[in-house]
């Protein structure tokens, strides 16, 4: 990957314009994630490495893998010249103007990784055929998801997805080793990308480590490409060693894993991510209310679910059977395996990206304690397929609209509300018009009726959002506060499940 020092002009213009807008968001609302990252700056700066994963002065302990901790340490080296007070571990909720400016600036600067990834993606194509690649790259760069999660709520996702894009570009260029290393690096930044790991594993195994053509030549020993496999193993292990090595030496691996995978959390997050379990929980709530309020069934006098609700989310139900972690794990694995099979049979890059998307879908829809923000893990790989042909557009629209709107409750303060609505609307308006003009038409196998249903469904978001915005004005809903968020997450989950079904059908049968 030759390091290009200049950006493509259109991309550079996009970056400058978007940075201008993001600078204006500096005074915007920021969530506790801002304090989380400030705390990590403080921990990595003022504590020795061996205390990083034990430090618990703040409730927002370090729970990302080591590369992210190193990244925070790197940032803290600059932070000390800006405002040393932000690097004091005990300075809880410290948010001076310079601290806000520093952290927000570091986030915007880190987005350049995504820009670099997208630049490489566009450059894959010859000069005269870049329109679709530009459209896809811009749609990712200007994604309302990143705007909400990174620039307002505050996280560093764009940078991480930049690494993912770089890895995908390397895979596309048949530079499997580089792709694998980049993905391993990504995993050591944020373990949520484990959602995508099965597709990487299966694809690398299939095209890089195995040579099935050897079977037909009756050389069963030649099936394994030994050199490739050893290189792959060595490089992935060395990435892991660079990340976890110091902690292995210190014997802290169990502690790190306790931090990374807090299994004590519930099935659903406090705000239900729009997945299958949101529907399940909603059904449970509705059944429970019907049984208690309408049928006055004495069995359901007490609200068991409310006892376990709160920060950890729901883990037990009133009417429907409880869901065990094992069940979610089995379901996820099952759907991921289904996604992998066509890719293993016919290992093209497009199949790989499709399998990646479906692995993301499976984990998001069926996983245990999924965050709504994880929808980006599905949207970004899907974006690269959106312009394959027209039939992909409907599931893409369903996914992006439902996924991004499900992020809206993250931003609940009034000054930012018009920005999230308008930015989202502008994004949909601009990119759907561009995508509609660019996607090649393929009339066979196109089910117009389903398209219509999807469009009606998408239009349904308008009354839904209006209703949710004016929720407080309806007196009859007082005492039913959960209904507001439940409505968004169940409606969005219908859209995302619809997109999953549509995309799976295209991938498996079309």
């Amino acid at each position: 990957m030759a390091l290009k020092c200049s950006l493509l002009p259109a991309l550079r213009y996009a970056v400058v314009a978007s940075i201008c807008f993001k600078l204006l968001l500096y005074p915007a609302y920021r969530s506790t994630d801002f304090e989380v990252h400030r705390n990590w700056l403080a921990i990595t700066y003022s504590k020795p490495l061996k205390e990083w994963y034990y430090e618990d002065t703040s409730e927002w302990t370090l729970d990302y893998p080591p590369f992210f901790a190193y990244f925070e340490w790197f940032l803290s080296q600059f932070a000390q010249y800006v405002d040393p007070s932000m690097l004091v571990v005990g300075n809880l909720d410290y948010a001076s103007t310079t601290t806000v400016y520093f952290q927000r600036t570091s986030e915007i600067a880190s987005e350049l990784v995504l820009v670099y990834g997208l630049q490489n993606y566009i450059s894959l194509l010859p000069d005269n055929n870049r329109q679709p690649a530009y459209a896809i790259a811009m749609s990712i760069y200007f994604s309302p998801g990143f705007l909400i999660i990174d620039n307002i709520h505050f996280q560093y996702n764009a940078m991480l997805f930049g690494i993912l894009v770089l890895s995908l570009v390397a895979m596309k260029q048949q530079r499997m080793l580089l792709g694998a290393i980049l993905f391993a690096v990504l995993l050591c930044f944020k373990h949520i990308f484990l959602y995508l790991a099965p597709a990487y594993f299966a694809y690398l195994l299939r095209v890089y480590c195995l040579d099935l053509s050897a079977l037909s030549r009756n050389r069963s020993l030649g099936v394994i490409r030994w050199k490739n496999s050893i290189w792959l193993g060595l490089s992935v292990i060395s990435v892991a060693l660079i990340a976890f090595g110091p902690f292995i030496y210190l014997g802290q691996i169990p502690q790190i894993f306790k931090r990374l995978f807090p299994f004590s959390r519930g099935l659903c997050h406090a705000y239900w991510a729009p997945n299958v379990w949101a529907l399940y929980s909603a059904t449970d709530r509705v059944l429970f209310l019907v049984l208690r309020k309408v049928l006055k069934n004495p069995l359901y006098a007490e609200d068991a679910a409310s006892l376990t609700r709160g920060l950890v989310g729901i883990s037990s139900f009133n009417v429907l059977p409880d869901v065990l972690p094992r069940a979610t794990f089995l379901l996820t694995t099952f759907y991921q395996l289904i996604a992998l099979i066509p890719m293993i049979i016919n290992p093209t890059h497009d199949k790989f990206v499709s399998a990646l998307t479906l692995c993301g879908f499976a984990s998001f829809l069926f996983g245990w304690h999924v965050h709504e923000k994880a929808i980006m893990v599905v949207i970004v790989p899907f974006s690269f397929l959106a312009l394959k042909d027209r039939r992909y557009l409907t599931p893409f629209y369903l996914l992006t609209v439902s996924g991004y709107i499900s992020l809206f409750p993250l931003i609940f303060t009034s000054p930012e509300a018009p920005i999230k609505y308008l930015y989202m609307f502008a994004w949909i308006f601009a990119f759907y018009n561009v995508f509609d003009g660019l996607a090649p038409v393929r009339t066979t196998h196109r089910v117009f009726l389903l398209d219509r249903i999807a469009h009606v469904f998408l239009l349904g978001f308008i009354p839904l959002l209006l209703f949710v915005a004016l929720y407080d004005k309806f007196a009859i809903f007082s005492g039913l506060e959960f209904l507001r968020l439940m409505l968004i997450s169940t409606y969005c989950s219908l859209g995302i499940i619809g997109s999953f079904v549509g995309f799976s059908w295209l991938y498996l049968f079309a």
Partner: protein, 541 residues
């Protein structure tokens, strides 16, 4: 990964652009065929690259909607910042003034509007502002009555109130100013047979004018309503819908009396087309009637409800006039880049002369400065000349008249910026972008006080960068020197202010320097403006 910014980008980008975005090259050859030189199309700017995505005729309207949405997003972004007078009791600032008017308009009967507790932000705009405030106060009170409760809501700084107020500015602008701009640009494009791509570029150039965004959505005011009404008036007059145009102009005057800055050239133009080429008495009478009727209708509710017998309406009118034209408040209040403030640095005007003398002096100088515009437009009532006349007069008022606020620079800026919609050529463009920058710079002391430094730099950079305006310089050497020297002065002043505290005996030194520099540039621009007006009037049709 190095990204170079600002002026250097477009230079270096031009060579690579042609291969990247073929559409621009197509557009260029089209323009050559028309023998025209247009902004953004003939010289690639970041904006034209973005918009080339939508070059297909089918998607042209998409581009225009996207531009409106993007300009609204930047307004919302600026709105996240502070407003004037935030946590600055007891009087706060313009935000509190506007909120207070909503409060009194909603709670008090009309006849008390111009009388109620005048020491605390007494209403000093004409009735249309009051009606507008009444509507917003009524809606706001439905949302949360405590935001606009009589007397008790003074100094309310609730975050949701701020959001509500910000949204009312956006919606007012969306309903009046933005349609006015679209209408004006559409007429200009049709009139001058320019390309549809140019339509989008021109709209963006006008809608992203930094000064208006910063004042209305940062500092907090509703200037876009008055400017939009004036623009609707100008557009309708250009479209030969004279009666509609004059009605809109009266509405604009009834929203903010500052629209008077435009009145002389508009009056001259309308009078001119009633007399030349031949006397058209019916046109004159219909215009006069429409003006009188509109004024009467706007003032009627407030006058008819004034009570107090026969004398009531009289006192009411006098009170409104006293409130609207506050001669008692002196030649100027705050530091502003007009001639009086600049002269005052060297000669203490207020000490040397009585208020009456100064008043008369300012009246005479203002009239002298706008007289050429009146005569030229009256004798040559040409569409091409109208905007130049309007801006010349507005500059005259801004630089010489009484009780001018620094924010009033928006008035001369509007007609100047509107020239971008047409076909002004590279030379004129360079002056127009330049004066926009000077105007924003003249607002810097105000914006800095409001805590809007970040927004000031971002929005100014954005506008200049999108139009690649720093790469544009006028043809004449004198013009080049003026622009480069003034930019150097701006950069220098910002640097000095950042690095050095002003000497203790002159705490306002940097502000004074700002005013003098801005005034010099404005005066030069007024001269240049007059040259343009003269040319537009005198060149044979």
């Amino acid at each position: 990964m190095a990204t170079s910014h600002g002026s250097t980008t477009s230079d270096s980008a031009v060579s690579t652009l042609k291969s990247e975005v073929p559409s621009i090259a197509d557009e260029k050859s089209n323009n050559r065929q028309h023998g025209r030189q247009q902004i953004g199309a003939d010289d690639e700017t970041p904006l034209s690259v973005f918009l080339s995505t939508f070059k297909a005729a089918r998607t042209q309207w998409v581009a225009r909607q996207v531009i409106i949405m993007i300009s609204l997003l930047f307004r919302l972004g600026v709105g996240l910042g502070q407003y004037s007078g935030f946590s600055d009791p007891p009087m706060h600032g313009d935000f509190e003034a506007q909120r207070h008017w909503m409060e009194i308009a909603y709670h008090l009967p009309m006849n008390e509007w111009y009388w109620y507790d005048l020491q605390y932000w007494g209403l000093d705009y004409p009735p249309l502002t009051a009606y507008h405030s009444w509507v917003m106060g009524a809606i706001g009170s439905k949302i949360k009555s405590s935001w606009f409760a009589l007397d008790t809501s003074r100094g309310c700084e609730n975050i949701n109130l701020k959001s509500y107020m910000r949204i009312t500015v956006i919606i007012s602008e969306l309903l009046i100013y933005i349609p006015a701009v679209s209408m004006f640009v559409r007429w200009t494009i049709k009139n001058q047979r320019l390309s549809p791509l140019h339509h989008s570029i021109a709209s963006a150039a006008i809608l992203l004018q930094p000064a208006l965004i910063l004042i209305d959505h940062g500092h907090f005011q509703y200037n876009a309503v008055m400017l939009g009404l004036s623009l609707l008036a100008i557009t309708n007059i250009l479209m030969d819908k004279l009666v509609v145009g004059s009605v809109f102009f009266v509405l604009s005057l009834c929203y903010k009396q500052m629209a008077l800055y435009y009145s002389i050239p508009i009056f001259a133009y309308l009078l001119g087309i009633c007399i030349f080429p031949r006397l058209n008495l019916s046109r004159f009478i219909s215009l006069a009637l429409s003006v009188l009727v509109t004024f009467a209708l706007v003032f009627a509710p407030i006058i008819l409800t004034s009570g107090g017998g026969l004398k009531g309406p009289y006192y009411q009118i006098v009170q409104i006039l006293i409130r609207i034209f506050p001669f008692a408040r002196g030649l100027w209040e705050d530091k502003v880049a007009n001639i009086w403030c600049t002269l005052n640095t060297f000669v203490k005007l207020k000490v040397l002369y009585s208020a009456d003398t100064l008043q008369r002096l300012s009246l005479v100088t203002t009239l002298v400065s706008v007289l050429p515009a009146f005569i030229l437009l009256f004798l040559y009532p040409r569409k091409k000349a109208l905007l130049w006349g309007v801006s010349a007069s507005a500059w005259g008022f801004f630089l010489f008249s009484f009780q001018v606020h620094e924010k009033s620079v928006l008035l001369p800026l509007l007609p100047v910026t509107l020239q971008l919609a047409g076909d002004p050529g590279m030379n004129a463009q360079s002056y127009i972008y330049w004066i926009n920058n000077i105007a924003v710079f003249s607002l810097w002391p105000l914006l800095k006080r409001d805590g809007l430094a970040l927004q000031y730099f971002v929005i100014s950079f954005l506008a200049n960068w999108l139009m690649a305006s720093f790469t544009k310089l006028p043809d004449s050497l004198l013009g080049k020197c003026t622009i480069i020297l003034s930019y150097a002065g701006i950069v220098g002043l910002h640097a000095i202010e950042f690095l050095i505290e002003p000497p203790s005996q002159y705490p306002d030194l940097w502000v004074v320097a700002n005013i003098i520099l801005s005034f010099g540039c404005f005066a030069i621009f007024l001269l240049w403006n007059y040259i343009q007006l003269y040319r537009a009037c005198r060149t044979p049709v």
